[in-house]
Symmetry: D2
Subunit: 400 residues, 4 copies
């Protein structure tokens, strides 16, 4: 194996805005929890790098496929002042890419394969969580790794998977072995690269939203990758009717392929009326806000809950947004409803359950609407700033 | 409408065994909670009866279809001393039959259609719960109608639905309107007659067993109607692998049709080994004991739980049996497992969710393996004492 | 027993505002779900009435004590145009009063004492729910009587308990027998009259809020009867620190008596800072909004949740308010938090658990700050419009 | 600080029984998961040892107090053939002792104080979990550290705390800072040494048993340290009546001090009758089997559940035992009951909640009935083989 590899690396300038103060976990010139207040002039370059070495408890993975996430786009996208859009944890330069799958090449001392509870042998097909929860802080010890106080994130502040190789700690690696029942060759890896975004949706609707019981209806607002994955998951969980609200025709069509029974175009149809009509006046048990426009979407969801006869609705907010939702307490009271926030994909058996679901019939592959090479990453990061037709653009690294 | 109707009525003699004492809810010569200790010489006759009149809050239903339940068989089956097999609440003579659907013909004063929150108009297609929970005792007030302290049971101690007409209180009636999306004509009513037994399974695995999350495995022991319905429900809820353990080939085959992914013949195969093999060593999240042979089945389930890597298994006991299961506490401890008992089908939104699931793709019709007329009820009650090939034998009353 | 009794009756004029439309459950001239849009010129009079007769399934109770609720005040309070303040279900004329206890005098046919599952004998000390859930609509059948679609409410649209006698259906009656362990004479009835408001708080924090685990902290915003009862309940449930936010000194002091460990005066202290200080930076697991001022209170609660290290906070909204809370989804996401609405006090074993808690040491009597006679009801309804020093004013009817 | 320390070390001979096979995690001559099949001729000696050094992520703690656990007794107790009684994970020689508290003396590289999310400064008062969950296997990643697949146990297969110093990984260390509100000096450390056994009880009744709601009754079978701690915890959680079943008068008395409202002597009284009497026929919501005699105790618990009116009882099995409980499924069905197994004390916020509860009034100190020096450990390990009067014997190391 050669000593060098190619990688798509994001560079940006450390140029904090005047109101920025170095936070507890920030590192001058290198890392911050408030990306959009600090990093300027982002540029993504394909460059040659040393292949990393796995340390104790770490694994070296040959990457086969890695999807582009909206966060990748926003990290590489300057606003009018040149600051990056992405507001969160970032440390540059960093290899981007965190929705990946590949093959274990080498294991550091003591690295353990969770699937066998034994050392890796090499050759295992795997995927990984993006969140490098520490396993030692109080939230981790209490069982909430999605809220780790010492978090690192692959492709954000540590090197990611738009590269031939990546090193990750063993505890976030998950075997794709079960997927072999259904997928072979590159399909296995393409499916494997979808485990991470699907797990974000699974965490939102199943773990945080509490899921549904067979026969309940659901409404998914927003047909991005997370919303579409939620359609598949909730159909799989026995939803009577999966209703997707999405104005973009290409995504609406994809929604029907992924599990939606009905699609509403909220720009052309009366969302409230249509949901009530489809559900025979009962409304839904679970509403997913996956648009990032809560000030637009929440009042409509609230109106459905208010007018519907069904009780116990749960609104899950998974998309990030600064804006405040106007919430009428009385609606929550009269309809016995609740609102929860969802973040992350780790813990609670989410990754293994997503893999098992995909291994036994939940086909996520249609989410991938375009496959590209590593060299095409920079231009596609630009394309995705505006293109709402593509869903998941996935980088194939099998030819690297 | 004529004033008379035909009905299949069970007669038996009140002849208490020496150790029987009249209980709190027993009525000398008429009703007991301990059927097999009292009733002797059961005989089922087709006889002419007055069509009943709906009282306040009651509904008269023209029955279209009514399935035969194992309880019907056991009420009509004498043991060696001539006492009936069925051990529970019974009051004879009574028209048998409780798994029914039909059309509302007349509503008593104040009777309300839950589906519209308005009086019945007549003509509504409906089914009903078998359990006439009172809605006023403490368990009912607390939300546990399956454990009502003043329970009556349709076809057990009040007249049932092997008859042209039946009267029931409005609160146990459920609209079959949603099923019309998928079924027409007699299929609608046949499907409707399966709502009750499916709800018994739903209550067991979803409400009491807590259900599963998509990607979990399940094991169903026993391919009777409840076990088979559980296969359909849990497949619907996203089970990765539904494993049915059933020795009778006809039922095994039916299991595959209903949603089982694998069938184990526990008389010919090593149950423990096979479950571990199919689940790649992880075992199942939910085990349903639906055989009535817990002393045989539980030790095997326990052994799988012990040997499997998976945690958090729940064993749901739904079949009735006197025998004591030998339970090793340490297995529950080391594997973080639990055992729950399940009874009934009422409350918690079970009936409406079963109907919604059936309306949107959960097809229960294959459970009906034979359709008969009212006149054929007596002989089929005898057939079912030994025949394990038939699953659900359903009485059609549309020609009555 | 005499045939007449005295009662405090609310009269008002049916004079709908122009935008009012008769709703599904409204009755022209008699009853509406939108009180403040219809009823004008309220006046409370003490008048002589026939003692009511219990019908089938009903019970006649001799009232001993009945507390004044904020709803009573608002029903009798005209706004600038003369319309009543209370916005909800109302049917006048009606005897007011719903937080009551008394002694069973006579039972109608078939009325059953839930405590014994037998007919009432007469002489039983009892209290009752205020909500006359029907037990037959879909929410009731599904286990959600607080959301009954055919609700009547004692003292709102049916005659209440500011009278010597009241008739109620058996299903809402609860025995005070357990309280005799601790209370005798009028204390028993005064305690019994507090079961209803305490159950509203119990429903909010335990049933809807999910309660806490021993060692969690809680914050109660608003020291009215519900907020103060919540202090007692959550202290009882093992809260490490019960923090009450309440500006009125008399209520703050009462809060400390009821179970609060700390009181914050939100008008004089920095609420956010104080909660963080008291909880050593961890914040609380449960926040109760019991002020009716969510636009003021919610942003402060949200700020604490955001700044605190603790995860999984639940905000329970129990006070009614029209205003919209500005909710930042990201706070719910990052802190794994949720918001729920709470309404009612029925079902889920709430009343019996409150009674058992009071029977074994949860002393609610300090909530009663004043005892009055029936004749003093009208003037005290006026007093309570402005007086925030009194907590619960309770009418004694033992001398009637 | 001197380089040497004294410690109570258990030696035993590796002498496997004929049927023993080296398991996956066993190490020839050093460690096994089946202690009682391997280790012979145990002897506890006080010897001088090198003070250990904290490695990366580890902490050196000066031990102040360490309780003797039943496991310590059984590890040091030979059966008739000379094999140790304790059946589980063991690796000798090992310093015994795992219920400890102390002061941080030195932190290895990267060791983090969960309480501050910063490096230890030295001087922190702390306690620790006994279970060294790995944080990397699948159960740990899924949130079930009590079922870690790579577990080490302090004082069982790694050196424990009957010594002046101990080294442990940072992730199992918990700050006793909150206890300073209530305890000073050695009381702080004595209380701190009780956090571990109290957490075993908390995990059993709260996390695994699901706890209770205020107003529920509970029954604790067995007045050992775990049973007594459960009395305190459930009283704290709002139990109406805590009933302890315990024949030994000294422990019965201690039970009343810890929170029990009633004590039943099951050898002299009719357990079933008494529980029904005390609970007015309703029985309990939670039953804890903490005797280790499930064949004796379970049938009695089952009989109470059967005869009681209350539903939804949960039986928690926390004591280890080989014997099989005879479980009647019908009781679980008719009473809507369940059985769960409980193991461990880690995860789910148990340690911090126990510490917070103790910091705010849950006083566990009465559990310590005797304080001894390190030199007295061997003789007290013998005493406790038969003495049921002492509850917790605690070793003070402040004079070492």
């Amino acid at each position: 194996m050669s000593q060098k590899m190619r990688a798509a690396v994001l560079y940006a300038d450390w140029d904090p805005k005047p109101d920025f103060k170095l936070g507890a976990k920030d590192i001058e010139g290198r890392q911050t929890y408030l990306g959009s207040k600090v990093w300027r002039n982002p540029r993504v370059v394909i460059e040659e790098r040393d292949i990393p070495k796995p340390g104790p408890g770490e694994v070296l993975i040959e990457v086969k496929a890695c999807g582009i996430c909206g966060s990748d786009v926003h990290m590489a996208q300057p606003d009018e002042q040149g600051y990056i859009w992405y507001p969160g944890l970032t440390g540059f330069p960093a290899v981007l890419g965190h929705e990946f799958s590949g093959v274990v090449v080498e294991a550091g001392p003591g690295a353990i394969n969770k699937a066998t509870n034994r050392p890796f042998k090499g050759g295992e097909e795997v995927c990984a969580e993006e969140m490098l929860w520490c396993g030692r802080c109080q939230p981790c010890a209490d069982g909430y790794p999605n809220h780790c106080e010492r978090l690192d994130e692959i492709g954000f502040n540590v090197d990611g998977a738009f590269a031939k190789y990546i090193v990750v700690p063993d505890r976030v690696v998950w075997s794709l072995e079960p997927l072999k029942e259904r997928y072979q060759g590159m399909e296995l890896f393409l499916a494997g690269s979808l485990v991470e975004p699907t797990s974000v949706a699974y965490n939102a609707v199943i773990q945080r939203g509490g899921g549904i019981k067979p026969g309940d209806n659901v409404v998914i607002c927003g047909g991005g990758p997370v919303g579409l994955a939620a359609c598949a998951i909730l159909k799989r969980q026995g939803a009577a009717r999966v209703i997707l609200s999405e104005p973009e025709p290409a995504r609406a069509e994809l929604g029907l392929k992924m599990g939606a029974d009905y699609v509403i175009n909220p720009l052309k149809e009366d969302f409230v009326h249509r949901v009530l009509e489809i559900t025979d006046g009962y409304g839904a048990k679970l509403y997913l806000e996956a648009t990032g426009l809560p000030t637009v979407v929440y009042p409509q969801i609230e109106q459905v809950i208010w007018e519907a006869r069904g009780l116990n609705a749960t609104v899950v907010v998974v998309a990030r947004a600064d804006a405040k939702m106007p919430v009428t307490g009385e609606v929550l009271q009269v309809r016995r409803a609740q609102i929860v926030g969802a973040q992350g994909h780790s813990g609670e058996g989410t990754f293994p359950r997503v893999i098992q679901s995909m291994a036994t019939g939940m086909n996520m592959l249609p989410l991938i609407t375009k496959q590209i090479t590593l060299d095409e990453v920079p231009e596609n990061l630009v394309t995705l700033r505006t293109d709402r037709k593509e869903c998941k653009i996935t980088v194939r690294l099998d030819k690297e």
